[in-house]
């Protein structure tokens, strides 16, 4: 994978440009009773950036994503998304504002097919009420077909045509993760949160996922924040890295900067990735 990155640079691709700050995490702390999951963490993410959040297990990475999602409410500090500050937010509002996410333990809807799972990602864009759907005429029918069309593009993009009609519970793990990514993409998010999207995958699957992540960022300009343990992936595809340990941020910067940061090496016991 480092070869791919190297070849890109040497081929003289344009320098990556980023927009304004899309998400600003300011001094956020979260505790559950006596357990302090996050302690005064601050960082930001700019538009079109790919930010990796890394750290040993239990560092608070998933808690951070949960805060951004509105699933956890910070006890201190603020989170500002697209200029709007919010702290106590209902979880579904994150989706409304344009944040989509995948989960560590694949949270797909097991009773439904791949296609249906992806269609649920379009839920917020579907406006017709249940009565029209019951009659399946006019606006309801049109809307269903429109969204089906959009979802098919995602299916094509992720190369999952063959498993469209299979209930996701029966799919292998790597495929499920891909479907989950598809569901997140179906929502056309501004900010995509990926919680260990490569976990449990073999080399080929990882390469595919990396390709998808990079393509999403490239083609749609989606800002991406991902939690990842595979250092090779982190170093190769992220623009910046934030390192958490025991709930605190201990480093932030480009992959190279972070790699050589002594605090990070201490916390992590550097993993060789060459």
């Amino acid at each position: 994978m480092s070869q791919a990155a190297a070849s890109t640079e040497s081929a003289g691709f344009p320098e990556r440009t980023f927009g304004d700050v899309m998400l600003k995490v300011d001094n956020v702390s979260v505790s559950f009773g006596a357990v302090r999951a996050l302690i005064e963490v601050s960082f930001d993410i700019r538009e079109r950036e790919i930010l990796a959040i890394i750290g040993p297990n239990g560092a608070g990475k998933t808690s951070m994503l949960n805060c951004i999602n509105g699933f956890y409410h910070p006890s201190d500090g603020t989170i500002t998304f697209k200029g709007e500050e919010r702290r106590d937010m209902k979880p579904h509002l994150a989706a409304v504002q344009g944040i989509a996410r995948t989960f560590q333990n694949v949270a797909l809807f097991h009773g439904m097919t791949t296609l249906d799972n992806l269609m649920t990602g379009r839920n917020l864009k579907m406006k017709t009420n249940f009565l029209l759907q019951a009659l399946h005429i006019g606006p309801a029918r049109k809307e269903e077909l429109e969204h089906r069309d959009f979802v098919e593009h995602i299916i094509e993009f992720l190369e999952i045509e063959a498993i469209r009609k299979i209930p996701v519970g029966r799919l292998p793990y790597g495929m499920q993760k891909r479907v989950e990514l598809g569901r997140a993409l179906a929502a056309e998010p501004d900010l995509l949160l990926l919680d260990e999207p490569m976990a449990g995958m073999n080399i080929e699957e990882k390469e595919d996922m990396c390709r998808f992540v990079l393509d999403v960022n490239d083609e749609f300009g989606t800002t991406i924040a991902l939690i990842e343990h595979d250092m090779g992936v982190v170093m190769d595809i992220s623009d910046r890295v934030v390192v958490l340990d025991y709930g605190r941020k201990i480093a932030e910067g480009t992959p190279d900067e972070v790699r050589s940061n002594s605090a990070v090496i201490e916390a992590y016991l550097g993993v060789s990735h060459d």
């Binding site: 579904h92 017709t128 309801a140």
Partner: protein
């Protein structure tokens, strides 16, 4: 070789999303409709309609209603009997209070009333998860049973507590009351149930149905995608109560003609409908029909075998029937939690490959 998908290429999403995309399925449904609309009326007799076809249709409607709530949305309800009672009593009050109202309008209004009542009981409990709804619906069951029994206004102050459906016509054919023929009642039920089943199926495969299933499967993830669990569950509960209310009204006006609410709509009915949904298949409209047919036909079959064939006492046969049903529930859940509908699907899949084994 007979039943296969090969060669049936869909050229549009619309075709792919049709209710019965496979041609053979369409023939099958067509055949079923012909049997239901033409053949049965030709060969059926009074007993057949009154004891089998009409109850199967009405129970199917109730089962579809419960399936929407429990099968698609994953919320257990034990109050179906009580809500059917609401439908029946509303129907009675409307029929006696507003004699000029069309029967169809009365049925629909009964459904709305039941949906409203359902919302009252649902609102407190849909905000939390687990079996709380089961307890709330039990509350509804017992309270409503008591209410219709104790408050004479509901039965128009009839001393016996029994409500009787006055005669009404639809399109010139008399449908309720002592002179309505079982054939006309059968047709009416058949049409109503087919329409409602179609509506339910459309909802189930639209975004509404997906929302229900998302909440059922993983409501945290559903929330983070943008679904609002409370609204989704409440909608399921309302639509479900509507269907169940209409079924209750039909049970009163078009099947039994006269009911004593505490007896006819007790907690056993709630269990019966729940069993229909479980055995027929959670989350399947077709399964609701299968489950209803099963629950109606099985006791008849068992009684004939046990009392008629083996000379058992009726009481003992009833007890054995209870055991068999309980065991069937457990077996269904162990072997095929998706019930008869799934077994049917598996059979179809095997047919697709026939004569090859796999």
């Amino acid at each position: 070789m007979i039943y296969r998908e090969a060669g049936q290429i869909k050229t549009s999403y619309a075709a792919d999303q049709a209710i019965f995309p496979i041609t053979q399925d369409r023939w099958f449904i067509g055949a079923m409709l012909i049997i239901a609309f033409i053949m049965i009326p030709l060969v059926g007799n009074e007993y057949f309609f009154q004891a089998i076809m009409i109850p199967v249709l009405i129970y199917s409607l109730a089962a579809i209603g419960l399936n929407i709530l429990t099968g698609y949305c994953g919320q257990v309800s034990l109050g179906t009997g009580g809500f059917m009672a609401v439908g029946a009593v509303s129907c009675y009050k409307l029929m006696t209070g507003f004699p000029e109202l069309n029967l169809i309008v009365v049925l629909l209004l009964s459904g709305f009333v039941t949906a409203a009542v359902g919302m009252i009981f649902g609102i407190p409990s849909l905000r939390i998860k687990g079996f709380y709804l089961a307890v709330a619906t039990l509350a509804a069951q017992f309270f409503l049973s008591w209410l219709f029994n104790k408050v004479p206004w509901f039965v128009n102050y009839t001393p016996s507590g029994t409500i009787t459906a006055p005669p009404r016509e639809v399109l010139g054919v008399i449908m309720t009351g002592p002179y309505a023929t079982s054939l006309s009642r059968y047709f009416f039920c058949l049409i109503v149930v087919c329409v409602f089943a179609l509506l339910a199926k459309n909802m189930a495969r639209g975004s509404v149905g997906r929302a229900w299933m998302a909440i059922r499967d993983m409501d945290i993830a559903a929330q983070l995608i943008g679904f609002r669990p409370f609204q989704v569950k409440l909608l399921a509960f309302s639509i479900s109560s509507f269907y169940i209310g209409v079924a209750g009204a039909m049970m009163f006006a078009l099947w039994l003609g006269a009911v004593e609410t505490a007896e006819a709509f007790d907690i056993n009915l709630s269990f019966q409908v729940l069993f229909m949904v479980i055995i027929g298949g959670l989350g399947s409209i077709a399964g609701s029909f299968m489950g209803a047919a099963f629950i109606v036909l099985m006791p008849i079959l068992l009684t004939n075998v046990m009392v008629g064939g083996m000379g058992m006492q009726a009481v003992t046969a009833k007890h054995i029937e209870i055991i068999i049903f309980g065991s069937l529930i457990i077996l269904t859940l162990i072997i095929e939690p998706n019930g008869m509908a799934r077994l049917w699907q598996i059979a179809k899949e095997k047919l697709r490959l026939w004569p090859f084994p796999h």
